[in-house]
Symmetry: C2
Subunit: 358 residues, 2 copies
């Protein structure tokens, strides 16, 4: 079942305090009202972090109790239209990877036709840190950012971005922390990662193109990153795990695993009510297990609430582009609404991400 944080009632500014809940039919079930057998303090809000930090045994025990008809979820249910869903996690560090070989190739072709993939791309999951403080929940309006860009004559100008884009991504949320100086092995992801969100990494392509050399994207991305209100436990996606694409060259040993860490998810992008893209997650070149192993191999720690974005999800076909930069535009206009949706092959629906440009 999908987990989230909500305030019962009409307004998130109301008096009610945030509660942890699960998505059940068209309702939110308040976990604090069920009398579950679980350590104290996990469901009092205002984020999933305490529950996520409790670890896989607690996650499994709670899931088992919720699946038992005796739990009687009805008695703790609020219709979803009467609940305000809040940002479900307190984000610690936000890391964004670049794991789709189709996306990296398509974008690379725009800038380096002779060498679309950098020499490092097939050796390691390229990633960078984004801004944790501007991660917002689905439904939050997104202001068009202002910034510096080059105009058509190569002159530096300032103003609203004229190339505002979305990026369809899957985000992975860390529950159990790891120690500084103690790398997590490639098989350790399931011991640390609680679940999955959909993520829209809004991008101002004109700001980004001018600023990003040599230290990477900054203001072109940091104005807003939207995530779904619902976090789907990784355990619920067991039935969607598949072998990822073959990797060539063979990665270094710390990135090697025989386990099927690919995920068979179907993702879609809707713009103003019309589907503009349908992107399979299955062809993603680098996997969650490799993200975690790589991120920590230098001794960096994980914290509860770390958010690991997959990077834009694009597939090999023309209708499978996860951002407008790859689709050739047109870029977003004020008032445009973008909705990301996802469904796993085993029937589990991920939470949607919705945002309007203002």
């Amino acid at each position: 079942m999908n987990y989230g944080v909500f305030v019962p009632g009409a307004s998130p500014d109301g008096h009610a305090t945030p509660r942890v809940g699960v998505q059940w039919n068209d309702a939110v079930v308040d976990l604090g009202l069920l009398g579950l057998d679980a350590p104290p303090g996990l469901f009092d809000g205002p984020s999933l972090n305490p529950f996520m930090a409790a670890g896989p045994d607690v996650w499994a025990a709670v899931a088992e109790q919720l699946a038992d008809p005796a739990a009687d979820l009805e008695r703790a249910a609020t219709p979803v239209e009467r609940a305000n869903l809040l940002l479900p996690i307190e984000v610690a560090d936000y890391v964004d990877f670049y794991a789709s070989i189709d996306h990296a190739t398509n974008v690379g072709l725009l800038f380096r036709p002779d060498q679309p993939l950098m020499p490092n791309w097939r050796h390691l999951p390229v990633g960078y840190h984004g801004r944790a403080g501007t991660v917002v929940v689905s439904g939050t309006p997104v202001r068009r950012p202002h910034g510096q860009r080059l105009d058509a004559h190569g002159t530096v100008v300032f103003g609203p971005s004229t190339r505002l884009d979305f990026e369809l991504e899957v985000g992975f949320v860390v529950g159990v922390p790891s120690g500084q100086g103690a790398p997590v092995p490639v098989e350790g992801a399931a011991s640390h990662v609680f679940g999955v969100v959909l993520l829209n990494d809004w991008s101002a392509r004109d700001i980004q193109a001018w600023e990003y050399q040599p230290l990477g994207p900054f203001l072109g991305k940091s104005f807003a990153t939207s995530v779904s209100a619902w976090v789907t436990p990784l355990a619920d996606l067991e039935g969607a795990r598949i072998a990822p694409p073959a990797q060539s060259p063979e990665p270094l040993p710390y990135l090697q695993t025989d386990q099927p860490w690919g995920l068979d998810l179907d993702l879609t992008v809707e713009r103003n009510g019309e589907q503009v893209s349908a992107c399979p997650f299955a062809p993603m070149y680098w996997t969650l297990a490799q993200f975690v192993a790589h991120l920590t191999v230098n001794g960096a720690s994980l914290r509860t609430g770390d958010l690991l974005g997959s990077g834009t999800v694009s597939g090999p076909e023309p209708g499978q582009r996860g951002c407008l930069l790859e689709m050739g535009g047109p870029f977003l206009a004020d008032g445009d609404e973008v909705v990301l949706r996802g469904q796993a092959v085993n029937g589990v629906a991920l939470g949607e991400v919705r945002g309007v440009v203002v």
Copy 2:
């Protein structure tokens, strides 16, 4: 006076709870024991964040009371050798700038002799996000990171970094948050920034060189970033403010100010007891006021605990290089100790940053 967080007694793992204190002669004064006229809850630890969030009026009122002899600091003083100094702030987002024109030119010459400064460098303060979760307090040993690098034959190999470096930086700590979508004007820095730390942005140059294209530094930096245990209030550096270097071309209006936002600080690097560099902060091209205005101009918010690094501080002379990459090595060996110190022209001493490579 410098502010920090400490645990009285011999061990940070002891039973005593962290307390907010100030540096006074060779002692730490427990602010919670002084009965200061201040809002409740500011000095109970475990970080300066509640005090920093309280804003400039509270900062000034507390400083005024501490300067009054009637405060009788002696009664709340613990000798510094009997106090364990902890990480003083809970880091929200960590942003690292690249604001020294001498550093950017020196490093640029190594990679792009024909164009050491990128075209954007004089138009905006280049910056990127680092890893907040691996910021550690002075005195914490720093493990040599493992990772991928290219060997002398251009082959990808894995192992301990062979080019481990320090970076001498000044860090600015945000106290008062700002709203998403509400840029802070260039004169707003003093309303938001509480104080200053020294910062060592440890860097594995071999890992960084291989990974950083096209999204910027990642594992080459994320294994550890050390900050001083003491935070010096910006207000204490009023007497060290000077005009920064002239900027050409003239920056865009949102980055323009007539106020003297340069800081006249003398910084030093000591390696194994020997001073290897003496770097003036005064020639830094971009200022704190410009960092804050740029960082937020796209609508990004500030949070209490945001840490803004200046980037490596280098001056124009050969003895003024803030990292080994610029000095031509030799890179750090296991057991090497690096100590950063700083002194403002008005006599205020910044907290030192000390770290041993293990």
